[in-house]
Symmetry: C2
Subunit: 404 residues, 2 copies
């Protein structure tokens, strides 16, 4: 397997584009993205578990119920959520795309992200679509990645090449993250594409299995969005024998999918709203996987620890505290904690109590941009990783006045 | 019932004091407090549910197992948690107090608050105790309230006078809050005193019943502390017939207790680390109490909503979002949301969708220091209130470098 360029257009038969259509006031920000497969593709998706769901979620669920889709339309700047006519607008988006691309409206995945509770006007989308569709190209992945950004500071795309049944396949994706990131069963917006041939049910199985250990293990701020969605289109143009059951081919596909999703997780967490650092909490020695995941997620969600990491302060008591209130059944007298980065590794707690350490070296370790918080539970063999970011002045600034 | 002066010394027979003994480097900050009842008192307490527990919690549990106590010793600046010799130090604190006051060590409630995981030296406490005890007086409530402060910006005390069985009684308390505030079953540090005569089991029943709707409904930052404790001493000097069962007297006592605890809740939430505003989320029309409480707490815990309140931004979509992911079974299409303050009341959402409102007036409402977030679920009769604060630059500043 190797990392390649192209993001969501890396797989054969996929084109994409992103434009500014006028949903956002700022003309320099793209706000509408389109991804298109030249042939119908197997489709799968996972969604937010928030009871308040964006209208696009409802429409997309209906459209991919048959296991197939051919295009993804996504706007930023408005979440189309908590609006009286939201479903109508989301359906209209699909119909406009269908007309423009000569496909069925029921083969269009619809997504929106942005402010909740403000009516979304169809006009700018209708006006922008012809140019958006006309500009679809295999070089359009970056433009599509830009069109779904909200407070993200960097565009997020990844792709890898891998082999299934002797055939070279590709899988790639784009993501938007930043705030309201605390996925549960589903996540922020991620659109994945692959030319690997795989049946819809196996595609859904692969995606649902993958996100439990990837996107569901990220937290920026503990707020689970109303519009979370991860979707994947698989158009089969790589020519491999279609994957219809578990086995070697499915395993190869899962591995490639996991490489892409972990890379996107790191990008989303590291670019959390206001973040200056990517935090990875790696828990080992847990009695079982559920314990490892619960502990990792609790640590990564602690506002106090996040603020300490912003200040490069080795305040490991906050790690212990977060483990203690996580709800996991842990013997706190066996817990070891170390911090690790490019600058080195420093152990700060053994058997639940502090050990002497150099504050100066700890500062060096924590001043790096990517910090690993290593938690050893010494009670078993299970492991888990969660991703997050530090809590900064800029998180408050961005969210203190997001709408205006 | 009427509010009176005196805090923890308002009740007959209670004296208190607070001094700087040297645990903190800053000489102008008191770091050791003592509360004393002239006669043995019924005692009850509730504690943190964090699996990582401060050593003082373990010692206090043992000391009040018989239902009685006579003094409270509390230091700030060091939590005496995750230290190899923590229990030994906490026991030594009780023994020093016992010796100084000529009472039993097993009648001393011990508490500590501050940094986790740094050994607590007994020397400054041993040196400070004689002066601390010598200075005990009925005017010492404020000094005691100051001695337990960490990042609190204001001293917190309350007291009321009420009547039980024709006798005038008093109940008062002091609290320290600020950060790591997300109580579960128990809470931050609160020390209550009363001269009402009440049996230990009824005192525990009153306290446990009360905190479920008061301290357990506060959140500053979602982090449940390792050292949370609420304790109450009832010395019976008011001369009422001792309360040994439910009935009119118990109800009168519960009402007075609740008045004091709600006032302390508001003080703790409004003085959350970095806070500029007190937030009260009042949920009504819930199908049951559990739903009302879950929804209120979820709203008050949302980092996004807290940041929006700091910015006086009427971003009600974040209220809906937090209701949606709360885990409560709510019909989101029936939800109404209004914001209320001294400046007035403004409805921003009806039946789960936005209504037109004046952004200018919304800003006026949200620029006040105390904001009510009114959530109507329109599905029943149950109500609940949760208290919190806004998320500000100063929260990040305070916690980015707490130890140094």
């Amino acid at each position: 397997m190797r990392v390649i360029e192209g993001g969501v257009c890396a797989a054969l038969g996929f084109t994409a584009n992103g434009v500014h259509c006028g949903i956002r006031k700022n003309h320099s920000k793209k706000d509408l993205s389109l991804i298109f497969s030249s042939v119908p593709a197997s489709a799968a998706a996972v969604y937010t578990t928030n009871l308040v769901k964006g209208a696009p979620i409802t429409v997309t669920k209906k459209h991919i119920a048959d296991g197939y889709a051919q295009a993804v339309i996504c706007n930023s700047g408005n979440a189309n959520t908590c609006n009286a006519n939201g479903i109508e607008i989301a359906e209209a988006m699909a119909e406009l795309v269908a007309k423009e691309l000569s496909i069925k409206a029921s083969d269009v995945i619809v997504a929106s992200t942005g402010v909740i509770g403000q009516p979304l006007s169809i006009e700018p989308i209708a006006e922008g679509l012809p140019a958006l569709a006309a500009g679809l190209s295999a070089e359009g992945g970056k433009a599509a990645a830009e069109g779904i950004m909200t407070t993200d500071t960097v565009m997020k795309e990844v792709a890898v090449e891998f082999t299934v049944g002797g055939k070279s396949c590709r899988i790639g994706g784009i993501a938007k993250g930043s705030g309201m990131i605390h996925p549960n069963m589903a996540t922020m917006l991620v659109f994945l594409t692959t030319d690997c041939a795989i049946a819809p049910d196996m595609l859904q199985k692969a995606l649902s299995g993958d996100i439990a250990n990837t996107f569901n293990m990220i937290s920026v701020d503990g707020d689970t969005s109303t519009n979370d969605m991860v979707s994947i289109l698989a158009n089969g143009l790589a020519g491999n024998a279609i994957i219809t059951a578990e086995g070697e081919d499915f395993t190869a596909f899962m591995k490639a999918l996991n490489t892409v999703t972990i890379a996107l997780c790191r990008k989303i967490a590291g670019d959390g709203e206001g973040a200056t650092k990517l935090l990875e909490c790696k828990v080992s020695g847990a009695a079982d996987l559920a314990t490892a995941k619960t502990v990792a997620k609790s640590v990564i969600c602690s506002s106090l620890l996040k603020a300490a990491m912003f200040g490069a302060d080795a305040n490991w008591g906050r790690v212990l505290c977060a483990i203690g209130y996580s709800g996991a059944n842990v013997d706190v007298n066996k817990v070891d904690v170390s911090f690790k980065s490019k600058a080195g590794i420093i152990t700060v707690c053994k058997n639940g109590a502090g050990v002497e350490f150099s504050e100066e070296f700890a500062k060096q370790v924590l001043l790096e941009k990517e910090i690993e918080i290593l938690v050893g539970l010494n009670s078993g063999e299970a492991e888990a990783t969660a991703w997050g970011c530090d809590l900064t002045y800029d998180y408050v600034k961005i969210n203190g006045d997001y709408r205006t």
